[in-house]
């Protein structure tokens, strides 16, 4: 007893440290099983979140009154600047829309399935961890708003992080600059893949890129989708500095796309769906379109409507299929055999064979369809619905195909050729 009272302070210190060490050991072991939220954390967060929310909202109101009603000095100048910017962006948008259409056509042709962001929930940032070693955000939305753990958190600029823990009205977000975070990333130009991680000083780094790879500062970085948390293609940042690391890997510092220190509102992606790009309103997908885009030097030939070239109602489905091989073969008056072989041996074989066996430039030569070719094309369409070939011959260089509305690839559900198109594109069309 005397010994205890004599060394009371040391004993208490040892006891408190031991208790915490034991607690630490239990938690580390439990972390893998993703145990429930601990009561003390729940109390700490739930106790302070309402005050933080109140402070944020009251501050926002004061700022709103000031910015919207009082401080209007530079509004006129800003309005002019925004108008000019809007004009410029409208032009950019038109160009990008065309690029997007083309990308979707190609993706559909290749049978890609993408993760699409279906639903998002906007949330206000109400707090942080308050520590440099733990890069967390607290949001004013929780389970009541449909937020769950591991949901991606983004802004229009790029990725912020992912939801770590969710409470009733609050969610904890682990930012990409936390040392324990990790996001699958792809370098846009070189297509190299690595993992983006944070550091104890809040910097973002791209790891696991081999030292012999060439990575240039300024190269953009997007999510790879490999982590199964973030959808593919979201902006992560740009390469800021590249140097040789201590081991075999490069040391790549990344400038995040989003300003992680000044976040006020974020979007939580609550639902993602995998689906094939929708090309319904984009016109038919034709091998000739793809080829024309890869051969820009050939001049366009205005299409001259031919009596026999108008797509017949019965052949629209066949036209939709746009088997490149059938088009090529039809141009040579051998569509009959191609169609039949497609029916017999399967669309893929026919499409592949046609694409690989025949020179692609033949599609680009404007030819007057011979009666035999037309007949055989149509007959082929009726038989197997693979390809009439007429339209492809008459408008061989149509980079922006205009086709009947029924000419959607989906229309060929019963049409074997519609299934053949993606197969034709799958590594077979010339790059």
């Amino acid at each position: 007893m005397n010994l205890f009272s004599r060394h009371k302070n040391t004993v208490v210190l040892a006891t408190v440290l031991l208790a915490q060490l034991l607690g630490l050991a239990v938690q580390v072991k439990r972390q893998t099983a993703e145990g429930p939220v601990r009561l003390i954390r729940y109390v700490a967060v739930s106790g302070l979140a309402p005050f933080e929310r109140m402070l944020i909202y009251s501050g926002k109101t004061v700022r709103g009154v000031w910015a919207n009603y009082l401080d209007l000095r530079s509004v006129r100048r800003e309005n002019l600047r925004l108008k000019a910017e809007s004009e410029r962006m409208r032009l950019d948008r038109a160009r990008e829309q065309e690029d997007a259409r083309q990308a979707r056509r190609i993706q559909a042709l290749l049978g890609f399935k993408e993760q699409w962001i279906d639903t998002t929930v906007a949330a206000q940032v109400i707090g942080t961890s308050g520590s440099e070693s733990s890069r967390l955000l607290y949001l004013d939305k929780g389970t009541k708003d449909g937020i769950k753990a591991d949901m991606p958190v983004i802004t229009p600029d790029g990725v912020v992080g992912k939801v770590l823990t969710v409470y009733g009205d609050t969610a904890q977000v682990l930012m990409i600059n936390d040392p324990t975070s990790g996001v699958g990333a792809t370098l846009v130009n070189s297509r190299l893949q690595g993992i983006v991680k944070g550091s104890s000083t809040g910097e973002v780094q791209l790891n696991y890129i081999m030292g012999d790879e060439a990575v240039q500062p300024g190269e953009a970085l997007v999510t790879s989708g490999g982590d199964r948390v973030f959808p593919r293609g979201l902006p992560l940042g740009t390469v800021a500095k590249v140097s040789m690391g201590r081991n075999l890997f490069l040391e790549i510092k990344v400038q995040p796309a989003t300003d992680l220190d000044r976040l006020e509102e974020v979007l939580v992606i609550t639902e993602q769906k995998a689906r094939t790009p929708d090309t319904a309103g984009l016109g038919p997908i034709r091998a000739s379109d793809i080829l024309a885009q890869h051969l820009p030097g050939v001049p366009q030939t205005p299409a001259t409507p031919q009596p026999g070239a108008t797509p017949q109602p019965g052949t629209t489905g066949a036209t939709n299929g746009h088997s490149a091989g059938a088009a090529t073969v039809a141009a040579q008056g051998t569509a009959q055999s191609a169609v039949q072989s497609a029916v017999q041996s399967g669309n893929q074989g026919a499409a592949q064979g046609s694409l690989t066996n025949k020179p692609q430039t033949q599609i680009l030569k404007p030819q007057t369809p011979k009666p035999a070719g037309t007949q055989s094309g149509n007959q082929g369409a009726k038989q197997g619905g693979t390809q009439s070939g007429n339209q492809a011959i008459q408008k061989p260089l149509a980079a922006k195909p205009v086709a009947p509305k029924a000419a959607s690839p989906r229309a060929g559900g019963a049409n074997p050729a519609s299934a053949a198109s993606p197969a034709a594109g799958e590594g077979k069309h010339p790059q």
Binding site: V12, L13, Q20, G23, E52, T128, G130, Y138, P179
Partner: protein, 175 residues
């Protein structure tokens, strides 16, 4: 006692203070809460560790190792509540700081700004060293320390300590 006589320069320095329970509980909750809230608008605020400064202040004012240990543990665990690290990381670091600061508070003059600056600087270093050791050795995290950044943070926290301690002096109750 001899060491104490050698180090102290005035009668006031051997005084032991206590604090009302409102201050003992409310102040850490308020300051740690502020530390979590303010960086949303002022990101540089993240560099301050008010939990650490309060632990040092309470420890050197009460001059009791027992009290310093328990105060450090409580404030550290509260801070752990706002992070995603397991409970005990900040808890252990601040327990040791509380014990150490109260031990030093018995022996040296802790009332003048210079000694407070040095005290805060020294214990910031101890705190970070313990924190990194726990993260690396116990949790297996690959934490890299930027010494320049840590030194800057130590200076900033020490300057803050001088002003904060001067402000907090008014809550002291002479025992």
């Amino acid at each position: 006692m001899r060491a104490m006589n050698l180090s102290y320069t005035s009668r006031e320095q051997v005084e032991v203070y206590r604090f009302s329970w409102v201050v003992s509980i409310g102040l850490p909750v308020l300051l740690v809460g502020m530390q979590a809230f303010i960086p949303v608008r002022l990101p540089f605020f993240r560099v301050f560790d008010f939990g650490l400064l309060l632990t040092i202040f309470f420890a050197v004012s009460r001059r009791s190792q027992l009290s310093g240990t328990l105060t450090g543990a409580a404030i550290g665990l509260l801070q752990d509540g706002f992070t995603h690290t397991p409970f005990g990381v900040f808890g252990i670091a601040k327990t040791l700081v509380g014990y150490g600061a109260s031990s030093i508070g018995i022996r040296i003059d802790v009332e003048n700004p210079g000694s407070r600056f040095l005290l805060a600087f020294f214990f910031y270093g101890i705190h970070q060293a313990v924190f990194v050791a726990i993260e690396r050795e116990l949790l297996g995290q690959s934490i890299h320390i930027n010494l320049g950044h840590e030194a800057g943070a130590a200076v900033v926290n020490s300057v803050m300590a001088v002003f904060l301690f001067a402000f907090l002096n008014r809550f002291k109750i002479r025992d």
